[in-house]
Structures are given as C-alpha cells and as structure tokens.
C-alpha cells in the first residue's frame, strides 16, 4: 500500500510513448493500446448512431412526419438500434475499460491471449465494415430485432449484409469473453483471491459468461435468417409450417442476456466509483458479487417476457413473468448496497461520482418501470409502445452510458496520465442528466397513452409530449459532445495526474500513469481486501477530526 513519494511524477517511458509508429498501434498486443483502438472505433459508431437518433427526433416533432419518407425513417431507427446495440453499448465498457483495466486490476502483465485480443478488435472492425457497407448501399429496414418473416422474406433492404456484420461482430464478443474468463481464472496475482477481486472484475466476469454462452445462439439465428433470405430455404417460414415465434425465442435467448451484457459492467463501474468517492468499503461486498452472478444466470431465463403478446403459450408467459420479477431482486440488492456504501463515508463530489449518482437515479427509474413491464396484464398494454422505448433507454443510456462516461472520467488520469478540467466536467454531467430526462421521461407518458414505437406518423394528441422530447435532444447532445471535446483536449494539455490522483485503492492505481508497457515492474502481492479505504492513512485523519470535535 505504499505510494510513490512524488505524486506528480509521470513515468517517462509508458505504453503510449514506448513505440511511436502507426504499425506499432495496429499490430500491438498490449491490452491498453487495444483498449484505445476500441475507444476510437466505438466513439465513431456512437456518433453515427447518435446522428440517426437526432434525425428521428426531428422527424417526430410533427405528427404527419413530412421530413422523411416512411422507408427512410424505418432505416434510421434500424441503423440507430443496430449500431448502438452491437457496435457501441455491447463493446463499450467491456472492450474499452475492461480491456484496459482487467489485467491491471488483477495484477497481470496482459490478457491471457494477447494476440486473440488484437484479433477480436480486427473482427469487430470487419463486422463494423459490413454494417457500414449495408448502411451506405441502402440501409436495412427491419428494426434491430430482425423479426421474421419480415426480415427473411418481405423486406426490401440489405438484411444479409447487416446480418453478416452482426454475425462477425459476435465473434469479437466471444473472443473477448473467452479472453476475460481465462485471464481472470489464470492470471491473478499472488494473494488476489476470488473474494479480493474488485467488483468491476466480477461484473465483467459475469458479463463474459453471457458473451460466451449467449452470442453463439444469435450467430446461428442470424445465419438461418440469411440462409432463408438468400436461398429461399424457409426455416421460420409459416408457408411450409415453420414458426416465426421460434425465431423470436432464439433471438431473445441472446438479446435479453445482451441487455445484461450492457448493464452489468456499468454496475461494476458504479461500485468502483461509489467506493472511491465515498471512501468506504462496499457495503455487503459478497452480496454484490453473488448478485452479479445471479443476474448473469437469471438473465438467461427471462427472454420470454419480450413475447407476452406474441402468441407464445400463456403458461410460458406466466413462468417468464415470475422469473422476470426474480431477476429484479439482484438489481435491487445492488442499488441498496450502493446507497448503504455512502453511509458513514467521506464523500467528495468529483465528476465520476456525479455520473455514478446519476446512474443510480436513472437506473432505479428504469428498473422500477421494468417491474411494470414484468407485470403481465400491464405489459400487454404498454409493450411495443414508447413506454418500452423509455424503459430501455433509462437502463441503456441512463444506466450504461452514464456509467461508461463516469468510468472514462475516473480512469482518464490512468489512461492518459493527465487530468480533465473538473468544473467543466461537472457541468457536462449535470447537462447530460437534465437533457436525458427531458428527452426520455415524456416517452413513459406517451407509451402509457398508447403511442406505438416505430411510428413516424402519429395521432395529433401525442404531439406535445413528442415535442418536449425532441427539445431535450440537443441538450443531451451537448452533454455528450462536451466530454468528447474537453477530454480530447486534456489528453494532450491537461495537468499531470500522478499515479493515484484519487488516492484510491486497487492495483491499477499502484502503477505509474500512464502505466508502462507490461503494467507492473514487479508483479504485486495482494494482502488486503478490496476497497480497504479504512486502512488508508487519511482514514485515521478523519477519525481524528471526529474525535477532536
């Protein structure tokens, strides 16, 4: 636990400047550099998906929807969904923050399979290339859910190219998940027992299980759709007795756990942030660990709640509903534990904590509306309406993206060795929070009133709420662009951070910032529990202060 004497020192040779050629980046095996490659790629995809969202919101100002044709609008929401889900949300925290941090957090020099790690980035980019190709040549209009028989027979767009893109992208997920699991099992530093792992590592471990066990089902399902479309061999085709609902079962067997791929790592980030800025042990650490594993497991058993009105059996619907209520429990445990971690802490309100608090607020609202969706009779009314749209944006954007940005701010000094401008960053977090609620809260009301999703022509009584929602979008947009700008600036011109600017625990803070190529000059030996903030020298100081009073 000894810290280097001069906190403002910057390591002279680090992973960023050790080699300077372009080739040294594109052929690197260093997990930190690969994380940055991912960072650049997913930022691009985020902007692409974001522009599509903006255009949709503009279209929705007017109930008659005269800016775009129906076809264009359908392609826009498909583009937004596909890009955001598979090319931004799923790789965001795992592939950027996870790649960067897992080896450092467990005290390893790299991933177990560094070459596979690089390959997974290339695979990701190849998948992205197919997706971008599908968009450029004409787009896809099936929605991100690719429901048959529309996608396999009736759609008149580039479904196969997009399916191939997502198929390839899936392999990137599988390779990443495989690498994470092996790394966590096999490369922990001496003394780093399972229950000394940071919660971020635990959540990524759970996420990797989903990556590995769910993604292949999506791969085969999309392959079958592509075969049906390309060769006319109808596997889901009702005309020869096939069942379109089978597609939905297989699709959601992946896509529901995929939601947990997006939100579990976010929960991990939040656990780190709350502990670090409340300067406290995480309340009920073991329970949070089991909750992560519980979510990963139960998440596989609830996919049928996307199909309550689809024509699946009523009994199956009931079982899926009950299990969906159960999966809410581990999520609730986490929220309660984060709250309890604040108790008797010593809280500072730096930007990462603002994002973390924002996450808890939005995630709680998203989770609570999830309960409403799990309630069968209510779901019949609100499913496939804007209520669902609002619900999953609260979890995915309010949850996952807030956590991603919070994590980026928290580990920014580790990644670049420099600090970001604190005041500006706090304002950005607040703007983001306001813009988000302005954009998405009206959708709950819209949904309960019955406005179906994927409509760009809608009855006039829905206009006011749509208008408010559209007003929120530019605010939200500013909330995203600000960090992009000031973090970009701060990477080069921010003040030097030193190895541990937050005075946080965790092995990643015990190497210089930016870290050297192989992370640790000497593999550390772990002797304490995680989040041992009560053992830090300053903790004594606080107690002293209390006693003085």
């Amino acid at each position: 636990m000894t810290l280097p004497p001069d906190p403002k020192s910057i390591s002279t040779v680090n992973y960023l400047n050790e080699e300077k050629t372009v080739a040294s980046w594109f052929f690197t095996h260093d997990h930190k550099r690969i994380a940055l490659l991912y960072l650049a790629s997913i930022t691009f995809f985020f902007l692409l998906g974001g522009v599509a969202a903006m255009l949709m919101r503009i279209e929705l100002i007017h109930p008659r929807g005269e800016l775009f044709t129906s076809t264009t609008y359908n392609k826009l929401f498909t583009l937004h969904g596909v890009i955001m889900v598979w090319f931004f949300l799923i790789p965001s925290i795992p592939n950027v923050l996870g790649n960067f941090l897992i080896p450092m957090m467990i005290g390893a020099r790299d991933m177990a399979f560094p070459r596979l790690n690089l390959i997974s980035w290339y695979v990701f980019m190849l998948g992205g290339l197919f997706a971008v190709f599908a968009i450029l040549v004409g787009g896809v209009d099936t929605g991100w859910t690719f429901y048959t028989p529309y996608s396999s027979t009736y759609s008149n767009s580039w479904v196969i190219a997009m399916a191939v893109g997502i198929f390839i992208n899936g392999f990137s997920s599988i390779f990443t998940g495989l690498n994470f699991i092996v790394t966590v099992h096999k490369l922990r530093a001496p003394g780093m027992t399972w229950f000394r792992l940071p919660l971020f590592v635990w959540t990524l471990y759970s996420t990797s299980l989903i990556f590995v066990l769910a993604t292949p089902v999506l791969a085969i399902t999309l392959t079958l759709v592509a075969l049906e479309r390309g060769f006319g061999i109808g596997i889901f085709d009702p005309r020869i007795g096939g069942d379109p609902l089978l597609f939905q079962h297989l699709f959601w067997f992946y896509s529901h756990p995929a939601v947990y791929i997006m939100v579990l790592p976010a929960m991990g980030v939040i656990s780190e942030l709350i502990a670090a800025f409340a300067r406290n042990r995480v309340f009920g650490y073991n329970f949070v660990v089991y909750a992560s594993l519980g979510i990963a497991f139960l998440g596989f058993l609830v996919w049928g709640h996307h199909m309550f009105v689809s024509g699946q059996s009523v009994y199956a619907g009931m079982i899926f509903s009950l299990l969906s209520f159960f999966v809410a429990i581990p999520s609730a445990i986490k929220v309660f534990n984060w709250t309890a971690t604040l108790y008797k802490g010593s809280i500072t309100f730096d930007t990462p904590l603002l994002y973390a608090l924002g996450f808890i607020a939005l995630f709680t609202i998203g989770g609570m509306t999830g309960l409403m969706l799990a309630s069968l009779a209510v779901d019949v009314h609100v499913t496939a309406t804007y209520f669902v749209v609002a619900h999953f944006h609260y979890i995915m954007v309010g949850g996952a993206v807030m956590a991603y940005l919070g994590g980026i701010h928290y580990w920014f000094p580790k990644i670049t060795g420099r600090m970001y401008p604190e005041t500006l960053a706090r304002w950005a977090a607040i703007i983001l929070f306001i813009g988000f609620n302005l954009t998405f809260f009206p959708m709950f009301i819209l949904g309960y009133m019955g406005m179906p999703r994927r409509y760009h022509v809608y009855p006039e009584e829905f206009q006011m709420l749509n208008f408010i929602s559209t007003i929120g979008t530019p605010v939200l947009g500013i909330g995203y662009l600000l960090p992009l700008i000031y973090l970009g600036w701060a990477s080069f011109f921010g003040r030097l951070a030193g190895p541990n600017p937050w005075n946080a625990t965790g092995l990643e803070w015990q190497t210089p910032s930016p870290p050297p190529k192989e992370n640790f000059a000497e593999i550390p030996v772990v002797t304490t529990e995680p989040y041992a903030y009560h053992l830090l020298p300053e903790a004594a100081g606080i107690h002293q202060e209390t006693h003085d009073r």
Partner: protein, 92 residues
C-alpha cells in the same frame, strides 16, 4: 505407449459397439419415441469421447465444469422453448 494405445483402442471398441446398438434399436417400432434411446446412447458416446479422447478424465475440475456448461445452457434454452410449445394449445 503400448498401454496407452490399448486403452484408446478399448474406447474405440466401445464406441463401435454403441454405434451398432443404436443403429439396431432404430429398427424397433417405437414410432414417435424412437429418438429417445438413440439420443441417450449418443450422450453416452459423447461422454466416452470427452472423458478419454479429450482427456477430460485427467483434467482439472475447472474443465469438467466448462465442458458441462455448454450443455447446461443448451438444456435451459431447450427446456423453456419446449415448454412454450407443449403448453400452447391450452387454454382453448
């Protein structure tokens, strides 16, 4: 090496035998249920291959767990999908 060879050969022999049994059983008039014995035997053969050809028997417990996980998750998928289909006609 010789001992090892004999050991692998015995496994192969058992596999051949099971193949003969499963093929023979298929000619019994079991109608819609004829998948059951053959799938059970397929699992036994898969078990033999995993234990001996894939050397699971000499491997650490972690690999046992991993090898089971794929099948476990597949059974979850099948269980719930089949549940939907068999309960679909009711209530009418």
């Amino acid at each position: 090496m010789k001992a090892k060879f004999g050991h692998y050969l015995r496994v192969l022999g058992s596999l051949y035998l099971l193949l003969a049994i499963t093929t023979g059983l298929a000619f019994l008039p079991l109608d819609a249920w004829n998948w059951l014995p053959s799938v059970v035997i397929a699992f036994v053969m898969a078990g033999l291959i995993m234990l001996f050809f894939m050397r699971l028997r000499q491997s650490e417990p972690l690999l046992w767990l991993t090898s089971a996980s794929g099948f476990a998750w597949l059974s979850l998928l099948m269980l719930f999908v089949v549940l939907d289909y068999i309960s679909r006609p009711w209530p009418r």
